[in-house]
């Protein structure tokens, strides 16, 4: 095995730092969401009257973006395209972190490239929409544009490696496998790849501190996650100082 060069040492260390930051940051946030009590029943009704119903409601929100569909069809289209393509692209990237590559990942690979194009398009669309619709422009801050630019640039640099400046894929794979097996290998000294990877690290580090936490937060949103059964089952507020205990 060859020595780790300086560049790879720096990036390998950065990678572990970002992974730790991501995991701890997300865990801290999720813990905060989970640990904070819900004093009252506040599902947005009509709401499911059973736990199973809530699972279905949540699935419809997370997979189909049901409420967004009700709210704005164009944004829904842009949002669905953005998230589905992002998911496919992420899935495709598993091939850099697995050996042997699972058949499903291999199967998706060609679609993955298409998804990359879709992701870039969706990010661009959502970006333009932010600028063009006066209401959305009013509420958009630097952080909102930043998130889209970040993901858009990720898609762009990724596609560039495929179509314009071919990167040494074998070396990329060795580097990635090295990271996940805790035995870092040298990374390709390819500026586009380095940029792409830097963007990934930025995204990972930024995630827990930003609105990107919507990905985990939605599961804790009481208006969507609560069962509509306040008369049937007494909901107890843990911090009320006058809690009457139900007689058994």
């Amino acid at each position: 095995m060859t020595e780790l060069n300086i560049l790879s040492t720096i990036f390998a260390s950065l990678s572990y730092m970002v992974i730790a930051l991501f995991l701890l940051g997300v865990a801290r946030k999720i813990y905060g969401y989970a640990a904070t009590p819900s004093p009252l029943k506040i599902p947005t009704t009509p709401a499911p009257v059973s736990g199973g119903g809530v699972v279905i409601r949540m699935a419809r929100e997370v997979i189909l973006f049901e409420s967004l569909f009700k709210g704005n069809k164009w944004t829904w289209l842009g949002g669905i395209l953005f998230h589905v393509t992002f998911a496919v692209v992420l899935f495709r990237h598993l091939r850099y972190f697995t050996e042997p590559v699972p058949w499903l990942v291999a199967l998706v690979a060609p679609v993955g490239i298409l998804a990359g194009v879709g992701l870039l398009g969706a990010a661009a669309y959502l970006f333009v929409r932010r600028l063009a619709v006066d209401r959305v422009a009013y509420i958009s801050s630097g952080a909102d544009y930043f998130a889209l630019i970040l993901v858009g640039s990720l898609a762009l640099t990724g596609l560039a490696m495929k179509f314009v400046f071919r990167t040494d894929v074998a070396m990329v794979k060795d580097f990635c496998m090295g990271i996940v097996t805790f035995s870092p290998a040298n990374m390709p000294a390819d500026p586009i790849f380095i940029l792409h990877y830097l963007l990934v690290l930025t995204l990972g580090a930024y995630f827990p501190f930003s609105k990107l936490m919507h990905a985990g937060g939605i599961f804790f949103s009481p208006t969507r996650a609560q069962i509509d059964n306040p008369r049937e089952a007494r909901h107890v507020n843990p911090w009320a100082d006058d809690v009457r205990v139900d007689k058994a």
């Binding site: 029943k41 506040i42 709401a47 967004l68 801050s141 630097g142 952080a143 306040p230 009320a240």
Partner: protein
């Protein structure tokens, strides 16, 4: 008065989304509560010296106590889905009346005080510390939210701006900045037993009056009892039901239904109010104190069950919160739902064929139904989700021959607020109330033109009071407004059946 506030002509078609017009409503804000009104509710009487620190501290406290607030502060992606869903934005064009922008007024302080990103890069995410300006914005725009939850229906994460405006009002109250309308009324209900300050003697007179009027009209005696220990049902009605039209006609109807059902009932002079403005100001303790009187009354009067009258936000408190606030109701008969909505009671009686109805009594009416926001999006009736839409409609169809719904984008879960809910039913906010009623007035105009609708029935005291006041600004007569149980009242044939 009418005419001073400008209203656009109604088309009945889909409302156009107004262009954003920053600051359009910045100068509108409610009156401040007097010292005594604040202290009575255990808030500081006047603004405390270190109010900024105290406000931030309170925000931290609420973030630890309310999952909704903690999650909602973090996860908005500014997708914009909610931006055109608030009746106040549609009516005013003020961008701070877009739900997400209203939330941002709090979120910017949250970011500054509670997040790393906001501390390090305040510019990137528009983080801002608490200041005189921010407080002024809060005061104004958190009192331009009727807590109707329409925005939460369309948010991909269910972010409910109502939760945030409740929290903001609680924070303001906690530093001695209280709203007159709500805090004054809360004082009355806690002291006298109802929002209107009707004392037991006056209440007894009113009930006597209703009883006499009713008897004169129908020649059948129906009782409207007060403080009768041992009655089956304790009726908790919004106090407007004792007072003004068309509320009192609805109240008359409750009595007829109980009469036909053969159920003994009573109102309580101690707890003569269903409304609970504690919710509007976000104060759990106040809300519990107000509700507690009802538990006490039910206990003292030894009733078997509690039935509640037509009031939207109060139905939310009763249906969703009572069991938590003042439950368990183990001293009541467990075979009944606590509380039972009068519509549930009436519909049940109709289904059991326990009341004779003469629909033709309402033949001069073409009726539509206004879904009240808290009933629609924060409660249920019956056993099935959506029962809160079906049951009142079923009742109306059982007592009227002509019923038509308004545009489906303006009813049921998509219903528009009357414009006066959430503690905003006060004269100094009239400009907002009129403009906020635009989406509903427009949809109503649509069915008036297409179907000749001449009656809009509803089950909320605030909606009734608001509409009778603001519809004339849109050249719609105020006597369109009806209680659902007013229609029931007209159709009931007294003594037609023996109750079950």
């Amino acid at each position: 008065m009418a005419g001073k506030i400008e209203t656009p002509p109604l088309t009945g078609d889909k409302l156009p989304i107004p262009p954003v017009s920053p600051g359009a409503m910045a100068n509108l804000s409610p009156n401040r509560a007097a010292e005594g009104h604040n202290t009575f509710l255990n808030f500081p009487g006047v603004r405390v010296g270190d109010w900024k620190e105290k406000a931030v501290e309170k925000m931290g406290d609420l973030l630890d106590k309310y999952k909704s607030l903690r999650v909602f502060m973090d996860i908005c992606v500014k997708c914009g889905s909610c931006t055109d869903k608030c009746h106040y934005f549609l009516g005013t064009g003020d961008p701070n009346n877009m739900p997400v922008a209203r939330q941002e007024l709090m979120r910017k302080v949250y970011r500054k005080e509670f997040t790393l990103g906001g501390k390090l890069f305040p510019g990137l995410s528009r983080a801002e510390e608490m200041s005189e300006d921010v407080l002024a914005q809060w005061w104004s725009y958190y009192h331009q939210c009727s807590q109707c939850r329409r925005c939460s229906v369309y948010c991909p994460y269910g972010i409910d701006t109502a939760e945030i405006s409740m929290a903001a009002r609680e924070i303001m109250d906690s530093v001695g900045v209280g709203q007159k309308y709500c805090n004054e009324i809360l004082g009355k209900v806690l002291e006298i037993g109802n929002n209107l300050g009707i004392n037991p003697h006056a209440l007894a007179n009113t009930l006597e009056f209703v009883e006499e009027e009713q008897e004169e009209e129908s020649q059948v005696k129906v009782r409207y009892p007060m403080d009768e220990s041992g009655a089956d049902v304790l009726l908790i009605a919004p106090s407007a039901d004792f007072f003004s039209s068309p509320h009192i006609e609805g109240f008359t109807g409750y009595g007829k239904i109980f009469h036909e059902a053969g159920v003994s009932w009573t109102v309580s002079s101690y707890a003569s109010e269903f409304a609970n403005f504690g919710m509007f100001i976000g104060s759990y303790d106040t809300m519990r104190r107000v509700a507690e009187r009802i538990r006490e009354a039910a206990h003292d009067l030894k009733v078997k069950r509690i039935v509640v009258g037509e009031c939207g936000h109060a139905w939310r408190v009763g249906y969703s919160f009572w069991n938590t606030l003042i439950g368990p109701f183990d001293f009541l008969d467990p075979s009944y739902r606590t509380p039972t909505h009068i519509c549930e009671f009436t519909w049940d009686l109709i289904q059991r064929d326990g009341v004779k109805l003469d629909k033709s009594a309402n033949d001069e009416r073409v009726v539509t139904f206004h879904d009240s926001c808290n009933v629609s999006r924060a409660s249920r009736m019956g056993d099935m989700p959506g029962g809160q839409y079906d049951i009142p409609r079923n009742i109306i169809k059982a007592v009227c021959n002509h019923f038509v719904d308004m545009d489906e984008e303006t009813i049921k879960e998509a219903t528009y607020c009357c414009g006066g809910g959430g503690g905003l039913l006060t004269d100094e906010l009239m400009d907002l109330r009129v403009k906020g009623a635009l989406p509903r007035a427009n949809a109503l105009h649509g069915v008036m033109e297409s179907h000749g609708v001449n009656t809009m029935a509803m089950i909320c005291a605030i909606c009734k009071a608001q509409f009778t006041k603001v519809l004339p600004y849109y050249h719609i007569p105020m006597d369109m407004v009806a209680s659902v149980h007013q229609l029931v009242s007209s159709a009931v044939v007294l003594g037609g059946k023996k109750g079950v």
